[in-house]
């Protein structure tokens, strides 16, 4: 898949000048040439449409994913070309209105879980390519996911028009996006397509992205999308362009960070499929985003910790297995983490199991991502490698840890290898488990 996409893109790049020379108003008849369809597929990948419009285990683009918002769950819709359940009846104009303006075919407003505020920046030509691909290449699915029902006032879709006035949109880029220079292409990828800000930019009282705090970090369904501004201390200003490219391509850079949760999905479904040129453009743009400081993070996240020497906790005594008491953090670590990450925390030699020191997750000012990783594990396929760490939550077959044990081990790991003891409590862990999945040891 990545190779095909990449090859297709090169052909688009090569054909870029030809495409650019087409005059838009005249091209009323839809162009469904292979080059346009390939371009549409690449753009849909870069915009990571599949991430939200596919339910876990569901058919591609058939919708049904629940997206948690403070107003309630927004359920993504079927965007396959099925005429009754999907967008099969959408004209190109209808498609453009929903993509760039958040308006459904019936004129009602979409909830801004759909990042139309970002997609508003997509060029006319790219909208056409996306439309062509969705209509001709995506397999129709005759299923309707459940409808969204939010709390007042957001349950009134009309309220969204007022929201839109406040949130605003950005004007679309013009011209042929394939011919943009590096920084313009990078901005286009980051803002209009990858919509990085949807997760990484904090939102104001009205739930719209605070443009003054672009990419300054925000909570995300239990995870924390970190500050990725150019701040040397709170952001990723210390990363090289090559490192960021490697991260987006593989999901992992030894001594820096690795992607799990929503970012793992973004890498798997989207950024790992981008061309090298696009990754460099994206990385270069991100690395010049104005620095925003965060008082919780005064030192680069990847600069904490060191290997533990002589962590010998052997007692020679066996646990009485008819009298099991909850273990302290060091013992939970020893029994559940050390086999892969090492007693000393250095991980495996090939970095498949990463080092826990010099690691942005343990060095973060917030324990959120470590707690979520312990609960949910890692399951990321990128660049041909399936990286898997089992979760230790309530559905784990490997080991189900209690809230207290998870609090203990997170505190131990961050104190020993990272930014310091975050004093996580069992109650904090309990809140992050999916509803109904509380562990009763």
């Amino acid at each position: 898949m990545p190779d095909i996409v990449r090859k297709a893109l090169w052909s688009i790049m090569a054909a870029g000048t030809t495409l650019a020379s087409l005059s838009f108003p005249a091209a009323r008849a839809q162009d469904t040439s292979a080059a346009v369809l390939a371009r549409g597929e690449y753009l849909a990948t870069a915009a990571d449409c599949v991430a939200c419009h596919t339910a876990p285990g569901g058919k591609p683009f058939a919708g049904g994913l629940k997206i948690a918002t403070p107003m309630g769950d927004v359920i993504s819709t079927n965007i396959t070309p099925d005429p009754d359940h999907g967008i099969g009846k959408y004209t190109e104009e209808d498609f453009e209105k929903s993509l760039r303006h958040g308006l459904r075919r019936d004129g009602s407003h979409l909830y801004p879980a759909m990042p139309y505020v970002s997609y508003s920046g997509i060029t006319d030509e790219d909208v056409k390519a996306l439309y062509a691909w969705f209509m001709h290449s995506v397999k129709p699915v005759a299923e309707s996911p459940p409808t969204t029902s939010l709390n007042f006032p957001a349950n009134l879709r009309i309220a969204m028009s007022a929201w839109n006035m406040v949130a605003g949109t950005v004007p679309p880029e013009s011209g042929d996006s394939a011919t943009f220079d590096k920084m313009r292409r990078g901005k286009y990828l980051a803002t209009a397509l990858e919509h990085c800000g949807t997760c990484h930019t904090p939102r104001n009282m009205m739930m719209s992205e605070e443009q003054d705090n672009y990419l300054a970090g925000a909570p995300l369904a239990g995870w924390y999308a970190p500050n990725i501004t150019s701040s040397k201390t709170s952001g990723i200003g210390g990363w090289s362009e090559d490192s960021l490219v490697q991260y987006l391509h593989t999901g992992h850079v030894a001594g820096l960070s690795q992607a799990a949760g929503p970012m793992g999905e973004a890498v798997e479904h989207s950024t790992s499929h981008l061309t090298d040129a696009d990754l460099h453009a994206l990385a270069a743009y991100i690395l010049q985003v104005p620095a925003k400081e965060d008082s919780a993070e005064q030192k680069p996240r990847q600069h904490f910790g060191h290997p533990v020497e002589e962590a010998d906790i052997r007692s020679g005594n066996l646990t009485r297995i008819d009298d099991l008491t909850e273990m302290d953090g060091q013992h939970v670590y020893d029994a559940n983490c050390a086999a892969c990450h090492g007693m000393n925390g250095a991980g495996t030699a090939d970095h498949y199991a990463p080092s826990l020191f010099h690691n942005s997750v343990t060095g973060a000012g917030r324990p959120d991502n470590l707690i979520m990783t312990v609960l949910q594990g890692v399951d990321r396929t990128a660049d041909g490698l399936h990286t898997h760490m089992p979760g230790f939550g309530a559905s784990s077959d490997v080991q189900r840890l209690s809230d207290t044990e998870i609090a203990h081990v997170v505190n131990y790991v961050m104190k020993t290898f990272g930014s310091g003891d975050p004093a996580v409590t069992a109650a904090q862990v309990a809140k992050l488990r999916p509803a109904g999945a509380q562990n009763t040891p």
Binding site: R314, S315, G316, N317, L318, T319, R320, I321, D322, L324, M327, H331, V332, D334, A335, N336, A339, C340, T348, G377, D379, H386, H388, M389, P390, G391, S395, S396, D397, V398, Q399, R400, L401
Partner: protein
């Protein structure tokens, strides 16, 4: 001590190991109510891992799993034993270990997931020895595959390496990569002998599978896989629970109640650790309590209606005890260093003697080149040779990298004299007698072991080996089988081809206890396949009821 409550389910299963938990999972998914009674406690992996790390004697498979007083299991393979009392000329060769715990003995196996050969099911008709099963390989083939998918088995492509058991589907996962030691061993065998080394099929992840990680080669599958890359019964327990099955730990079944005609089982009774008694009723009952405990339970439940024990009109309950009683040797190779101990424990096998015309006179066998870390053996040997200081360190390094350990699974055969009975002298805290086994290695197996010894000597010669250390006598393989033997004739067998007891129409056995012959491959996959076939039978009967 009185019956304080009555529980009830469509199907009541005794034992939560691979057999009991996989049946529970299949039935619960089909909407059938299930209660599983497990004698032992419920313990998480992390406690076993911590125990293993605290253990001084690392190769002690039972070490990290101390038993509870109300569900004792053999603490070790030493005779006399605190629980499994063995007698007879080869008493020490039947010193089996197993676990009485939620999830069962697959907490500490090496993941070897062999299918039996078609000939293993037809030993009598093909070779005039032992017994035939009351089913054929083809009957079990779909259930073998179902078991392989359930456990996550990796194995070789049959077009490249045919292991002799015909397959309708490829293995769920690709075979394990071959360790350095195994590469050296393979090369030697293929260049210098007429034999071959094959990939051992393993219930072990060679890629992320079933939400569990890929094997990292920690080399301590026994006693405990620290990361969950290897299958164990606890996963099937979790899956069955998610589907609605109820598991009750610390529930020691001691009585099997039947109707007045003695045709149907009506309930089982269990003790809790304080000896409070509980009655559990159901439509069907499955005893899935390991070969030894299954026979023990049937015998313990003897009453006026069935004075010789339940399902025992043939008198064969507890008889025909088999194993893969084998031979073992370690030696120091005079050739290049092998550096064993990198990767899973048991991955490479010489399979040339699993079948042949000679099976009319001597048993088959299979040879493991055991890929375990040899530092402990090497250290003991270096110290015994009197090395000290720097020389001792160098010797340990040399010996650990050059030690070769071979052992064999030799084919046992059903002999009614090899018999499990209830101990007259030992009882547990609940008053339940300990098991006792008389064992004399059948001549058929003795001949097989002699052949193996000759083959091992040949291999030692080829590798210019020194410092041979033969395990004295014979070596128990912890694969007990035969105690409720399968057959078509109710007069000389306990269960039929569907593992249903001849005597009681709603009582099934799911364990190696039903094996009519024991072949050479490790028994667990066949136990699982038979169990899944029991589940299939029960699903059909309950849906028609």
């Amino acid at each position: 001590m009185s019956s304080e409550q009555t529980l009830s389910a469509d199907v009541v299963i005794v034992g939560s190991g691979v057999a009991g938990s996989s049946i529970a999972n299949e039935l619960a998914r089909a909407g059938i109510s299930v209660i599983v009674l497990e004698a032992g406690p419920r313990v998480d992996r992390q406690h076993f891992v911590e125990n293993f790390r605290n253990l001084e004697n690392k190769p002690s498979y039972q070490g990290p799993f101390p038993s509870v007083p109300w569900a004792i299991h053999p603490p070790n393979q030493i005779t006399p034993n605190e629980y499994l009392h063995t007698t007879g000329p080869d008493a020490e060769a039947y010193q089996q270990v197993y676990l009485r715990m939620m999830g069962g003995t697959t907490w500490h196996w090496a993941g070897c997931a062999w299918r039996y050969l078609p000939s293993d099911f037809e030993l009598k008709s093909r070779y005039g020895q032992g017994r035939d099963w009351a089913l054929k390989y083809e009957d079990l083939e779909p259930f073998y595959y179902q078991a392989e998918v359930m456990m996550g088995v990796c194995g070789p492509d049959p077009s490249v390496e045919d292991l002799g058991s015909p397959r309708q589907q490829p293995y769920p996962m690709e075979a394990l990569p071959i360790s350095y030691a195994a590469q050296q061993f393979r090369k030697l065998i293929s260049e210098k002998t007429p034999w071959r080394v094959v990939h051992e099929p393993q219930a072990r992840n060679t890629r992320p599978y079933d939400n569990r990680p890929t094997c990292e080669g920690h080399n301590n599958c026994m006693p405990i896989c620290p990361i969950g890359a290897m299958y164990n019964g606890s996963y099937s327990v979790y899956h069955a629970e998610a589907a609605g099955a109820k598991f009750i730990p610390n529930a020691v079944v001691y009585r099997i109640e039947r109707d007045s005609a003695n045709k149907r089982v009506t309930a089982v009774h269990y003790y809790d650790p304080d000896k409070g008694s509980h009655r559990v009723t159901g439509k069907y009952f499955v005893i899935a309590a390991h070969c030894i405990e299954t026979a023990k339970l049937l015998l313990v439940s003897a009453d006026e209606q069935s004075p010789d024990g339940i399902a025992n009109s043939s008198g064969h309950v507890g008889r025909n005890m088999m194993d893969h009683t084998g031979v073992q040797v370690s030696f120091i190779s005079g050739d290049k260093a092998l550096w064993p101990g990198r990767g899973p424990l048991e991955t490479n096998v010489i399979d040339n003697f699993r079948d042949g015309a000679w099976r009319d006179t001597r048993g088959a066998y299979l040879v493991h080149m055991v890929d375990d870390n040899q530092v402990d053996l090497a250290t003991a040997l270096a110290i015994s040779k009197g090395y000290v200081g720097r020389e001792l360190e160098e010797q340990i390094r040399y010996l650990a990298s050059h030690t070769v350990r071979l052992f064999s699974h030799n084919e046992g055969i059903a002999d009614p004299q090899n018999r499990l009975t209830l101990s007259q002298t030992h009882k547990d805290v609940l008053g339940i007698p300990h098991p006792e086994v008389y064992y004399k290695l059948p001549e058929y197996t003795v001949k097989s072991c002699e052949h193996t010894r000759g083959m091992f000597r040949e291999l030692i010669g080829l590798m210019h080996g020194t410092d041979e250390q033969w395990t004295p006598g014979y070596f128990p393989q912890d694969h007990p089988a035969g105690s409720t033997i399968m057959g078509t004739d109710p007069k000389d067998s306990v269960v039929d081809g569907f593992c249903r007891t001849h005597d009681h129409e709603n009582l099934f056995m799911a364990s190696s206890s039903v094996f009519s012959s024991v072949g050479t491959g490790n028994i667990t996959l066949t136990v699982a396949a038979l169990a899944l076939r029991v589940a299939d039978t029960l699903k059909k009967e309950l849906s028609h009821a």
